[in-house]
């Protein structure tokens, strides 16, 4: 999967009215500005432009996606910019985002110190109510530490790593998971009328992102695999064998919320299947200043009252 330069264009002909359309080379679909026909661009398949293997179709309509964004704007903190709640959502685009659906056999070698707790009765000296030194006993919990090392083998599946340079992997993770039971083999009918992109990240970059995500999942899994009452110094190294990466188109609603005409818009992503929403809500410094002033005033009032009472 070689990245196609986003600034390159290609000229295609509308099959309905014959108009010549100039579209970015990474686009898999186009809409004719003259007759509004949806056109599917079928590029030559090859190593530099792979055909998607799978796609997940949109199941969230535009109105439902708008409702998700409105709900997201309402649930932001009180310091979020107030314009978020009133911003227009007219520019909302349904976009098939390319991603790598990664899976592998993960073999992990781990080592850790495992703690097994036990109790002992301990004798100690203390002073009683009469000031005399007395001997007492108490139950104390101690930990017996054992070194443990071993192997762990599992399949890592359902790892999604972005293949679009415009949507970072951590942003995509915020709207995951996608229901992969509804995965279907890619066919142009699914993307007809929607914007669909080719990968703009190199396959090696996508695989590296996916491996990192898979390593993180192993790191989350291993602590629960450890025996004992507690553990520490857990170290591991994972080898990924027989890796696979399938190019998959994910349904994402994208909108740029223009909350303030003087400032750049905020991008909000909505999972086109589940409605999970993410975005970087802008902070209203005016609200922060007001909150800070009110807090300072209350604090000052308390100080004055305390000073007067003394």
């Amino acid at each position: 999967m070689n990245p196609a330069a986003a600034d390159h264009t290609v000229e295609v002909q509308c099959q309905t009215c014959g108009a010549q359309l100039v579209i970015p080379v990474v686009r898999r679909t186009a809409r004719c500005p003259y007759c509004a026909s949806s056109t599917i661009v079928e590029h030559a398949a090859g190593a530099d432009r792979p055909t998607p293997d799978f796609a997940i179709a949109f199941s969230l309509t535009r109105d439902a996606a708008k409702a998700c964004v409105r709900r997201w704007a309402k649930t932001q903190s009180i310091f979020a910019h107030g314009g978020l709640r009133t911003a227009s959502l007219d520019e909302m685009t349904g976009l098939y985002v390319p991603a790598l659906l990664y899976s592998a056999l993960a073999r992990t070698d781990y080592a850790a110190l495992i703690g097994e707790r036990y109790t002992e009765i301990e004798t100690y000296w203390t002073t009683d109510a009469n000031g005399r030194a007395v001997q007492r006993t108490r139950v104390v919990t101690k930990t017996d530490w054992f070194p443990l090392s071993g192997q762990h083998a599992t399949y890592v599946t359902d790892v999604l790593a972005t293949a679009a340079r415009g949507i970072p992997n951590d942003e995509l993770e915020m709207i995951e998971p996608f229901d992969l039971r509804l995965l279907r083999r890619y066919e142009s009918a699914v993307v007809s009328g929607w914007e669909a992109e080719d990968p703009t990240l190199h396959r090696d970059e996508c695989m590296a992102l996916a491996r990192q995500e898979a390593t993180n999942s192993i790191a989350r899994l291993l602590p629960a695999f450890m025996p004992g009452d507690e553990h520490q110094n857990l170290q591991f190294s994972t080898r990924f064998e027989r890796e696979s990466g399938a190019l998959t188109l994910l349904p994402v609603w994208v909108t740029a919320m223009r909350y303030d005409p003087r400032k750049p818009p905020v991008r909000v992503l909505v999972n086109g299947q589940t409605g999970a929403t993410t975005g970087q809500a802008p902070v209203s410094w005016k609200r922060v200043a007001i909150a800070f002033s009110v807090a300072a005033a209350i604090l000052m009032l308390i100080v004055i009252l305390v000073a007067r009472s003394q």
């Binding site: 056109t39 432009r49 056999l105 142009s188």
Partner: protein, 451 residues
């Protein structure tokens, strides 16, 4: 994709229409897409009006914006599957009836005497019930705490990996039979005989799988995982006790075959009540089901047992007496005191009334295992008498004293009560250096044994 296509990662077969391997998620080979040469464009046309159509999220399919026609896409395939192999019936209907009669007559004395003659077969239905025949290899990695290697704590951690192999493991998929019934029937099937042809009674019915393919795969994999964990528990973990078991299972080469297994489902009535019985379709000795009990016989046995118990209790009460009424005779030796008389015909009992030893014959001290009185609750090096009495119950309380208060020595004598003890103490001249205290009686391995 052909039916024998296998996953390149785990070796499990891929079914037609599988997008990914159900075990390890390896993507199945895709069809060739795209064209060569310059980019081409294509417009998806409405079959009804010819207008360009777009995919609509609300219909889940392309829909024409002009006439509203919806173009159906290929549906995701998740079928209800059918049995592909049938094990033949080897028992006919008459054989099943005879098997039922033989089983009823073999149930034992507590069943009604006329069960065989009084039972009437109400239903005899040959049935092929369904299940999955599974082959798989498993690499199980595990961790656990066990008592093996424990130091200060009761547990020590362990980890390991072990290869497991499942061959022709039968996993029931039937809803008509219970899991317990399937487990009883399964070992008696000759799995080598399975074939695509049905061989059995004409009226035999075939149960249907009622789980879709995806659900069935999850069920099979879950059962294999649990089986693997069970084998790890029994075979891999050292020690006698364990806890915190974690098992990670790596399935490889999972092959499942859907098989139909022959069984007769029968119902018979006895005195207006119906009972269900399963007769194995290949082995007449495999009969499982319910049968009535004879309440008269059970009541008679219970009454007899109660009567016998009552008689035994009366005898025990008459033979036993107040402890203070019994006067054991003790022979004092240099190192140990050996009782020559025991409270209950030579049997000693602990606090719960359980016999803990037998009094030896006089003169056996030093050779045969013998009794050491009054030492229970003491540890090595503690004095036998003279300290605070350990836990003692009235039933097992004995009185004793040793040669000198505070010294780690042997018991000078034992007595059933304080009065007898003090009298014995006075007679031995130890009145000023010892004290009578209550102890329990225990058995030591030899006359010279210590706690």
């Amino acid at each position: 994709m052909s039916a024998d296509t296998r996953c390149e990662r785990c070796g499990s077969p891929l079914e037609v229409h599988d997008l990914r391997c159900a075990v390890c998620a390896w993507p199945s080979p895709a069809q060739a897409h795209g064209q060569t040469g310059v980019p081409a464009t294509r417009v998806l046309r409405c079959d009804a009006c010819g207008a360009a159509v777009e995919y609509a999220a609300d219909t889940g399919a392309p829909r024409c914006g002009f006439c509203g026609a919806v173009t159906r896409l290929e549906e995701l395939v998740d079928p209800l599957e059918q049995a592909e192999s049938f094990l033949p019936f080897r028992v006919d209907a008459e054989g099943a009836r005879r098997a039922l009669s033989a089983w009823l007559s073999s149930l034992g004395w507590f069943r009604p005497s006329d069960l065989v003659t009084g039972a009437t077969v109400q239903l005899l239905r040959p049935l092929w019930w369904v299940g999955w025949l599974v082959d798989a290899t498993v690499e199980a990695s595990w961790t656990a705490d066990s008592d093996s290697g424990a130091r200060y704590a009761a547990w020590a951690p362990h980890a390991g990996t072990c290869p497991l192999s499942f061959s022709r493991m039968l996993i029931p998929a039937t809803r008509g039979l219970s899991m317990a019934e399937c487990q009883q029937l399964a070992p008696r099937f000759d799995m080598a005989l399975d074939g695509a042809e049905r061989s059995g009674p004409d009226d035999a019915i075939v149960e249907q799988f009622d789980v879709q393919r995806s659900g069935a795969r999850l069920m099979v994999m879950d059962i294999i995982r649990r089986q693997a964990a069970d084998i790890v528990t029994r075979q891999a973990i050292p020690g006698t006790r364990f806890r915190n078991l974690h098992v990670e299972v790596l399935l490889q080469g999972l092959t499942t075959r859907r098989v139909a297994l022959p069984t007769y489902v029968m119902a018979y009535s006895y005195k207006k009540r119906q009972y269900r019985v399963l007769v194995h379709g290949q082995d007449v000795s495999g009969v499982f089901g319910s049968a009535p009990y004879s309440l008269t016989k059970i009541a008679a046995v219970a009454a007899t047992s109660l009567g016998a118990l009552g008689v035994a209790a009366i005898i025990a009460l008459n033979s036993g007496g107040d402890e203070t009424d019994r006067q054991p005779t003790a022979t004092t030796t240099s190192n140990a005191t050996v009782a020559t008389q025991t409270p209950d015909a030579g049997a000693l009992v602990d606090a719960g009334g359980v016999a803990v030893g037998t009094a030896p014959a006089p003169g056996d001290a030093g050779t045969a295992p013998s009794l050491q009185w009054c030492a229970a609750g003491l540890r090595r090096g503690e004095t036998l008498c003279g300290g605070s009495p350990p836990r003692a119950t009235p039933r097992t309380r004995w009185w004793c004293f040793d040669g000198a208060v505070g010294s780690a020595g042997t018991v000078a004598t034992c007595a059933v009560n304080a009065r007898v003890c003090n009298a014995a103490r006075a007679s031995t001249g130890l009145n000023g250096t010892s004290a009578c205290v209550a102890r329990r009686a225990i058995t030591l391995p030899t006359a010279r044994g210590t706690q």
